[in-house]
């Protein structure tokens, strides 16, 4: 009876709030557009077709890894081994492609095995965290050390080249459009499909309150393992992109990507506590990180200040994203 009185003037605010609740990535989108404009202002060529192609080529891997991270974050978990999985899959496919002669079938076979390895690593994480009930942060840190060791075992030193067929495809064009754009479109479709999967809703419900989800009759352990499996699979896909962009095997290549993937997830508006977020945001978050790094250079920051300015800019973007998102939803 009360609330009806005050309804009229707040309708517009209400709509904004609803938009931010439904699309948690709106703050990220705003930041991204601003960064694109600034990059274009300081270095017009960076937002040209070629510039954007380069951006996507370089950051497609981080986008995929951030997507991977998002699925575990949905359920309130985290995966500190995502980067190590990238390294492992990267060296596995490069070594296999080399051993099998580098032909078309060798490439496809190696990709298949690589994705299975990613999936397997994800399942191992899932079992450690969900079935054995170890705390996600520390358990996946332990598995990350294990996976990194395994990668080192598979390829003891960085530098094995990937077959030209592989990276020329990744870096090439078809009908005048770079391959990575096809990949990006495919990714969008896959993510659209995944968002409609029961698993996505279930992961988010688990993230909101695992005990409640369990009591509702959801197979919480299985759902969390599936989340990690999905994470491993997407980390495997990220490894394919890394391999495409770097054309070689490197047992250390993914190590630093883990923390960036977490930052991207947060920039994208997902809550690390689980239950709330969107993979779209994580994709935008990955691009934001890339654009911040190049903008810091394009505005002419002296070299010794670049790391600091990047760090500050990312911190501010993280804080702004969290605060704006919350204010807008409240």
């Amino acid at each position: 009876m009360m609330a009806a009185v005050a309804a009229a003037p707040s309708r517009g605010i209400d709509r904004v709030r609803r938009a931010f609740q439904r699309f948690p990535f709106l703050p990220a989108l705003i930041i991204l557009v601003a960064l694109l404009l600034l990059n274009g202002l300081y270095q017009p060529r960076s937002v040209s077709f070629i510039g954007i192609t380069g951006l996507v080529k370089t950051y497609l891997a981080l986008m995929l890894l951030s997507v991977a991270q998002t699925y575990v974050v949905y359920a309130g978990d985290i995966d500190l081994s995502a980067g190590a999985i990238v390294s492992l899959v990267n060296v596995v496919i490069v070594v296999l492609m080399e051993q099998w002669g580098g032909g078309g079938f060798a490439v496809l076979g190696a990709i298949g095995i690589g994705l299975c390895v990613g999936l397997g690593c994800g399942i191992v994480n899932g079992i450690a965290v969900a079935a054995l009930r170890l705390q996600a942060i520390v358990a996946t840190f332990a598995t990350s050390i294990f996976f990194a060791g395994l990668a080192l075992y598979v390829l003891p030193v960085a530098g094995d080249p990937a077959p030209a067929a592989f990276w020329r495809t990744y870096g090439g064009k078809f009908f005048g459009i770079p391959f990575v754009f096809y990949a990006a479109v495919l990714l969008a479709l896959v993510l659209y499909g995944l968002a409609r999967m029961r698993l996505s809703t279930q992961l988010l419900a688990v993230g909101d309150d695992p005990q409640a989800a369990f009591q509702s009759g959801l197979p919480v352990t299985a759902i969390r393992i599936k989340g990690y499996a999905l994470c491993g699979l997407f980390a495997g896909l990220a490894a394919l992109c890394v391999t495409g962009d770097t054309a070689s095997g490197d047992p250390l290549v993914g190590g630093k990507m883990t923390l960036f993937s977490i930052a991207a997830v947060v920039l994208g508006g997902s809550a690390l506590s689980g239950g709330f977020g969107a993979v779209t945001g994580s994709v935008l978050g990955a691009l934001i990180i890339g654009l911040i790094n190049s903008l810091v250079y394009f505005v002419g920051t002296p070299s010794e200040w670049q790391n600091l300015v990047q760090g500050l800019a990312i911190l501010i973007a993280l804080m702004a994203g969290v605060v704006v998102g919350r204010k807008a939803r409240a």
Binding site: R133, Q135, V138, I145, A148, Y153, F214, G311, V322, V323
Partner: protein, 318 residues
């Protein structure tokens, strides 16, 4: 008597038992591993980690997904600041220690303000802060005189101070006692557990939630700063990024010590044992002559197994 001790005791015993077991393994693999002198050296290394883990422990106890990833940056920065200020002279030590504590406190307060006033999740806030600190390191290193430790500091960390035991181990012991008293015998300690268990209820009973949490992050920064100074003494000269190694191990030490990342329960004695456990494990692996890939795999697997001893969460269906 009071519960914090009760809760801390059990994991402490588990970790201690594991320490003894690991020492036995080490001694079996390479005779001399568990010799008193070597154990003292391991304790020095464990003390460095343990001091960082003290701050980490406090932040984690405070709940609300408390975690401090910026400890690594603070350790590095403090080692460099201390090195420059003392510049190899004993007279510079007091100033260096004060400056480092202030630096650590400053970044801790910044973390705390971000976490409380802006309500940024601690993982995010401190991850961002770590990036800032790493950038700052590059800037600070420009045009500095030197990064040498004062001789007295090096002595304190590596040479015997009392009863054949180096000063840093005494310092660690002191920190351990202070931490236990702080957590069990002070109002502040009770408040830490209260906000870690149910922040809202704490707020409704008059606990200054934000101030307590800011204080926790501040203390974490200060402990990291102390560790940074000690690390300078340990290695004799400052160099970049020394602290990065402490970020995740400090968290693992806390968890192996029986403080869950969800906060609100646990204590420091377990963390001390956890830190020592971690250092012993690493040392054993160094002395075993296998390829690095093997060492890493064994280390990762061993950590998982160790966590099974007490790091496990509650079953959904009790």
């Amino acid at each position: 008597m009071t519960a914090p001790l009760d809760l801390a005791r059990q994991p402490f015993l588990v970790a201690s038992a594991l320490i003894v077991a690991l020492l036995a393994v080490g001694e079996a693999i390479s005779p001399g591993f568990a010799a008193p002198q070597q154990i003292l050296r391991l304790l020095i290394v464990a003390a460095l980690l343990g001091i960082v883990a003290a701050g980490q422990n406090l932040v984690i106890l405070g709940g609300r997904e408390g975690i401090d990833l910026s400890v690594g940056g603070v350790v590095s920065l403090s080692a460099i600041v201390a090195g420059n200020l003392m510049n190899g002279a004993d007279a510079g030590i007091p100033l260096a220690v004060v400056a480092c504590l202030a630096t650590g406190a400053l970044f801790g307060i910044a973390n705390g303000l971000g976490v409380t006033l802006l309500r940024i999740p601690p993982l995010v806030m401190t991850l961002g802060m770590l990036g800032v600190l790493q950038g700052l390191l590059v800037v600070v290193r420009q045009g500095i005189p030197s990064g040498r430790a004062a001789p007295a500091l090096s002595e304190f960390v590596t040479r015997s101070l009392l009863l054949g035991v180096p000063g840093i181990i005494w310092l660690w012991l002191l920190i351990g006692i202070v931490m236990v008293l702080l957590l069990t015998r002070t109002v502040f300690g009770h408040r830490i557990y209260a906000i870690g268990s149910n922040e809202r209820a704490a707020y409704m009973t008059g606990v200054p939630v934000k101030r307590v949490r800011i204080a926790l992050f501040t203390l974490s920064g200060m402990f990291s700063a102390i560790a940074g100074v000690c690390l300078l003494g340990y290695s004799g000269s400052s160099f970049a990024n020394v602290g990065e190694l402490y970020i995740l191990p400090s968290i693992i030490a806390v968890v192996l010590g029986g403080t869950p990342l969800s906060g609100g329960k646990g204590g420091y004695p377990g963390t001390m044992a956890g830190a020592l456990l971690l250092v012993i494990l690493q040392s054993i692996l160094t002395t075993v002559n296998i390829a690095e890939s093997g060492r890493q795999m064994v280390f990762g697997a061993a950590l998982l197994v160790l966590m099974l001893f007490y790091g496990r969460g509650r079953a959904m269906r009790a």
